[in-house]
Assembly symmetry: C2
Homo-oligomer: 359 residues x 2
């Protein structure tokens, strides 16, 4: 029996997507083999790859002057790829906003290849908010400006898109496809798949074409966006099953009403949980109201000695993976697109009951 899964990633996938993959796992399109067992250059798989790209373009309204890349190495691989692809255009300086663990990893990697200006940081209040635009001053001639629209661990989401001079680069791993975004405001968008796209092992990159000529000369071939773009993300064998499954998720998203519907749903789900947390005298959110994530909702119990009890009982109630990240403790409910409203209703009901019994 399927349970409600609040895992931060690899995260819940839409059940109809898994059901289709299951049904055709041994014999795909009547070919007599699995989608995993055909060449990535076969007409059948090429069609999968092209449709996935087109569906993503449709869902996100990606302009024609952007290339869509399906990459390996996750968002972490892009922490390296970003400076390597953008520090060769004249400036080896970049602006970064520091909002928590993921921003920090991106910063540390970029620092190895150029000058990083941390324009704003929320470290002063334990990364519990998104800095506002008046907090920073951009560098002159930065190669790019990097931020993390949603910190998966801290549960902090930017309520706005920075308006900056240099190409805007965003790690959208945990918010991509959860709302409409104006892609044309960005230079490079990237996202590991394992939250709102598909299984782990594939990442999506969306890059403005004019940025493809700014790589450092020594860039490792496997990190080059330009080579990936020229080869339709098939410079080497891509993760075909992950690509196929991501494509099924895109089709499912379209059938659900696209990112507009997801935006509405994500607000509904997260609001339901935050409302409960704000009413509760036992559970609370550590995140500043204006910066609360629609995707990842960390919360704490008034008495941390009950954490284990909470996790045990919630699991027994069919509510999976509510444990907070090992670095911060507490609880976290991730409410990605594939998590249904019913899951949040069940969670809130369980928490209310738990509070009554233990609070």
């Amino acid at each position: 029996m399927r349970k409600f899964n609040f895992c931060a990633g690899p995260a819940a996938l839409p059940e109809p997507v898994l059901a289709q993959a299951q049904q055709e796992l041994l014999d795909w399109q009547g070919l007599g083999c699995s989608v995993m067992e055909v060449s990535h250059r076969s007409p059948e798989f090429t069609a999968v790859a092209e449709r996935a790209e087109q569906d993503l373009r449709d869902l996100m309204a990606i302009p024609d002057n952007y290339k869509v890349l399906f990459l390996q190495g996750g968002a972490t691989g892009q922490f390296s790829a970003i400076p390597w692809n953008l520090f060769g255009g004249g400036s080896k300086k970049a602006d970064y906003i520091h909002t928590g663990q993921w921003a920090n990893k991106a910063i540390n990697e970029a620092r190895r290849y150029g000058e990083v200006n941390v324009v704003a940081s929320s470290e002063d209040r334990n990364f519990s908010y998104a800095p506002t635009a008046d907090a920073w001053r951009e560098s002159d001639n930065a190669a790019y400006f990097h931020y993390t629209p949603n910190e998966t661990i801290g549960g902090v989401e930017f309520p706005y898109i920075p308006d900056v001079q240099s190409p805007l680069v965003a790690d959208m791993s945990s918010t991509i496809l959860s709302q409409p975004i104006p892609v044309e405001k960005f230079g490079f968008i990237y996202a590991g798949a394992q939250k709102n796209i598909g299984p782990s092992g594939i990442a999506v990159g969306i890059v403005r074409e004019d940025l493809l000529d700014r790589a450092l000369p020594d860039i490792p071939r496997s990190l080059s966006w330009k080579i990936a773009a020229e080869a339709q993300s098939m410079d080497n064998t891509p993760p075909t099953f992950a690509w196929y499954l991501s494509g099924l998720v895109f089709q499912w998203l379209k059938a659900q009403g696209g990112v507009e519907a997801m935006a509405e749903l994500s607000l509904k789900k997260s609001q339901m949980l935050y409302d409960f947390l704000d009413r509760s005298g036992f559970f609370s959110s550590p995140v500043q109201k204006e910066s609360r994530s629609r995707m990842n909702v960390p919360f704490v119990l008034a008495d941390a000695r009950l954490d284990q009890q909470f996790l045990k009982e919630s699991e027994e109630a069919g509510l999976l993976n509510l444990k907070g990240h090992r670095s911060v403790g507490g609880m976290r409910a991730s409410l990605y697109n594939a998590v249904p409203v019913e899951a949040v209703e069940a969670l809130v009901a369980f928490m209310a009951d738990f509070e009554q019994r233990h609070g």
Copy 2:
């Protein structure tokens, strides 16, 4: 209905492995979710990861002073990673044997970061053989010696392991797990999974521990073997489904009798096909006898105008993906571990019949 699949990669997987994955795709280990939907740090997935490593260690008799890595980016990613990980130990010079397209790609990438000495090449006879050891002279103080034990495209396999001074590095993408090998003779072994291990999107690296301290200082984090080793291949989210499926293949291999059984089978299968090719007056092998691959068998028709007819009829006969690589043309039958003897019997019978009708 499942057909016989001779794809060079992504290649056929063992049917029992796919059947198990199918059965538990929506509810794995009774958890109420898919193996794709749990954290890579959960106890359940950690057990999968550890068992896969242990089974691979058992199958290949990997000594304790070697680290086993599960990597992203495929073998092509390692073409970059190898010089980056080994050119920082004092020498930026490496020896390479050039045996065809894959060796060439490895060479081209290494040349960007140091001096490559092509110690031997089979280009003189269209890459139709493996050079013998008397053909080359090693460099003094090479950082490593690289070769491609099996060229997937050319169908050329080394009948011996080079005995060299510097650490021996081998791209075993298309031969790994097809026979016992003395791992202790190698410094670094790597293989994309999509031939003899699992689905595409994961690669295996086996590295001698003392080589982990030879990286260039600027090495991108995502290419570092040392970081991967220290993090048990979880510096970032790994491709969990591909890892899980590879683990199922390792279990299947053990149940089949391990690499000794695979060695016997691969000889039997390839010999059956080569014997037929050598008897045939219509089909022939372009590869020198001593260097013929047990894994990839290219062959040509006496009349290339019949190529399309051959492909059409073979597909109708349930024999899939026999088309040669786009760069060389002709036909190619890949006979990896998951391709049963019956497949080769059916192929030979079909070819004999085709020859009788068209030859």
